[in-house]
């Protein structure tokens, strides 16, 4: 065989360069966030910034302490997980193990449609429909609370948790279930003691990615939770998440100011969380492939 033609090689190089761009983009995101974000440490020490609860970026004596925002994000996210995990995993078990195939065929696109609803539309729904209901049901003056955010965020991450859990359950070999049936186990006992445990790594990945999705979501939280940057004491308090803080303050901030750097540091925290979540998820996936 002669030498590869030049055009062939050019195409291969081109494709290779473009493919490597993904690595470059991730590196650039980290670089730009960190390069702006770390400058906030010139204004206060990291201990105060990460563990203080006073977020007052526009006051006379500005404070850029982020704990209330971090806790705000966590409260809403964990609330959403409490609702979405049982519903999502339950739905996945029903669709993969129990529902007749034709029903599963119909339900699958329905869940895809739910996944496609833009987050701003869900946020709008929480704002005009859910919030007044919560205000009425719990006798609080405004329904824009952590609970409201958690409920609508749960709706948003349901499809993520359901789809990945269902894939994991469907990947469990049929032989496992047949063996269980042959031992005299009922259908439910087989699901509970054989199918679900075998699919557990996949279900864990589903939960992790659902968590990452929830804590990184902006519009839903921005519109639904009331945005008060105080330490929340319960689900019926208004809260302000990290994402919504960036969204609502970035527009008015002067480039190169302490406030600007502080918002980039909040972005760094979010980026670090999403990085950790993805790393954990891919480690679980890899361990599953090896065994």
């Amino acid at each position: 065989m002669g030498q590869k033609k030049l055009s062939e090689r050019a195409i291969e190089w081109g494709a290779s360069a473009v493919a490597h761009a993904s690595i470059l983009i991730i590196a650039l995101i980290f670089l730009f966030l960190f390069a702006e974000g770390y400058k906030i440490f010139a204004y206060d020490d990291p201990l105060h910034i990460f563990f203080g609860t006073d977020w007052q970026p526009t006051s006379q004596n500005p404070r850029y302490e982020m704990l209330a925002l971090i806790v705000g994000s966590l409260v809403v996210t964990l609330g959403a997980m409490l609702i979405a995990i049982p519903l999502g995993v339950g739905c996945a078990i029903y669709l993969s193990e129990i529902a007749p195939p034709h029903l599963a065929e119909i339900l699958k696109p329905i869940i895809e449609i739910l996944a496609g609803i833009p987050s701003v539309v869900l946020g709008f729904f929480a704002l005009v429909v859910l919030a007044p209901l919560i205000s009425l049901a719990f006798g609080v003056p405004s329904g824009l609370t952590a609970l409201n955010g958690a409920l609508i965020l749960a709706v948003m991450i349901l499809p993520t948790i359901e789809t990945i859990s269902e894939d994991a359950l469907r990947a469990v070999p049929k032989g496992f279930r047949e063996a269980s049936f042959a031992m005299g186990a009922t259908h439910w006992e087989t699901i509970r003691h054989v199918a679900v445990p075998a699919a557990m790594p996949g279900i864990t990945v589903a939960i992790l990615l659902g968590f990452g999705r929830a804590i990184g979501e902006t519009m839903v939280v921005l519109m639904a939770t009331g945005n008060a940057s105080i330490m929340p004491t319960g689900l019926l308090d208004p809260v302000r998440a990290m994402t919504s803080t960036i969204a609502s303050e970035m527009g008015e901030v002067a480039q190169g100011s302490a406030h600007y750097f502080a918002l980039f540091m909040v972005g760094c925290i979010l980026f670090a969380i999403s990085f950790a979540v993805n790393l954990a998820a891919s480690m679980i996936v890899k361990r599953g492939q090896n065994s």
Binding site: K4, V18, F32, V121, M219, G251, L270
Partner: protein, 283 residues
């Protein structure tokens, strides 16, 4: 409680879970559709907002969203498909693949608001594009890139290996093989990714908050360096920052319905394309 009753109870609960999910979807869509339908009219779809956005239509926002998402897909689609071609057809060293794969997975998990921050720092400030359609489309392109790559990879991998072997055996080069024996059969999958990418870009708000979106503009954007209105952002400000929230509720619902309709129509198109071609090609 015996085993049969236990099973009945568990299955009922699981069925309820599935029912809840479906019910939630229907409640949300029904609420938006029933209250939004009244606001939809020819004027609403073709006119600009009037009277401090308390009257009139949403045409500039529809137009802006179309331009932004088409711009994003023009940038992300070729890049994504080429990346997928490299990953599935060319790259041999597994270490490279692992790194690129990890980068793509991470990119898919980056919160949309972080893309917004990054887009601001890189495109708006560093490159000096300002808040513009260009900066917005670039930011959205980064966000939909992982979706395009993943769906394209799946599409390419689903083409049987024997197609490639047959082509190579006939003396075709690598690129000729990819070009004539792989890509044509992956088109439906690639198309699905393209439509899903447009739909995702059209529905996102956070990445364009500080890179492209304007509260109100008297005229349509005339160059890529102009700011633009956009449907998701318009819904956000109408429902949170209007002078009189109650009085504009029909406009808010109308905007929500148009956005929801646009995005769901695109998703439906993707589902149809996929199932249509799945029936057409069988190997």
């Amino acid at each position: 409680m015996n085993r049969k009753h236990m099973q009945w109870l568990a299955f009922t609960l699981l069925k309820l879970c599935a029912l809840m999910v479906v019910a939630v979807l229907f409640v949300i869509i029904f609420d938006i559709a029933s209250k939004g339908a009244g606001a939809i009219s020819w004027e609403f779809l073709t006119e600009a907002p009037k009277n401090h956005m308390t009257q009139g239509g949403i045409f500039p926002a529809i137009w802006g969203t179309l331009l932004l998402s088409i711009g994003a897909i023009l940038l992300a689609f070729p890049t994504g498909v080429l990346t997928a071609i490299y990953l599935t057809e060319y790259s041999a060293q597994s270490r490279t693949i692992i790194f690129i794969d990890a980068a793509i997975t991470n990119l898919a998990g980056v919160p949309s608001i972080v893309f917004g921050l990054f887009g601001f720092a890189l495109f708006v400030a560093f490159f000096g594009f300002g808040a513009s359609m260009l900066a917005g489309s670039l930011t959205l392109a980064l966000m939909v890139l992982p979706i395009i790559i993943k769906t394209s990879e799946e599409a390419l991998l689903s083409v049987p290996h024997s197609f490639r072997e047959a082509s190579l055996a006939l003396g075709a080069t690598k690129w000729q093989t990819v070009r004539h024996s792989v890509l044509p059969y992956a088109v439906p999958g690639l198309l699905t990714g393209l439509i899903l990418g447009v739909s995702r870009a059209a529905g996102e708000t956070a990445p364009i908050l500080f890179t492209a979106a304007a509260y109100f503009l008297p005229s349509l954007p005339s160059s890529v360096f102009d700011q633009t209105m956009a449907l998701p952002y318009h819904l956000y400000i109408l429902s949170t920052q209007s002078f009189n929230l109650k009085a504009t509720e029909h406009l808010q619902y109308g905007t929500a319905l148009v956005l929801l309709g646009l995005v769901l129509a695109l998703n439906l198109a993707a589902i149809i394309v996929r199932s249509h071609f799945r029936r057409k090609y069988r190997w």
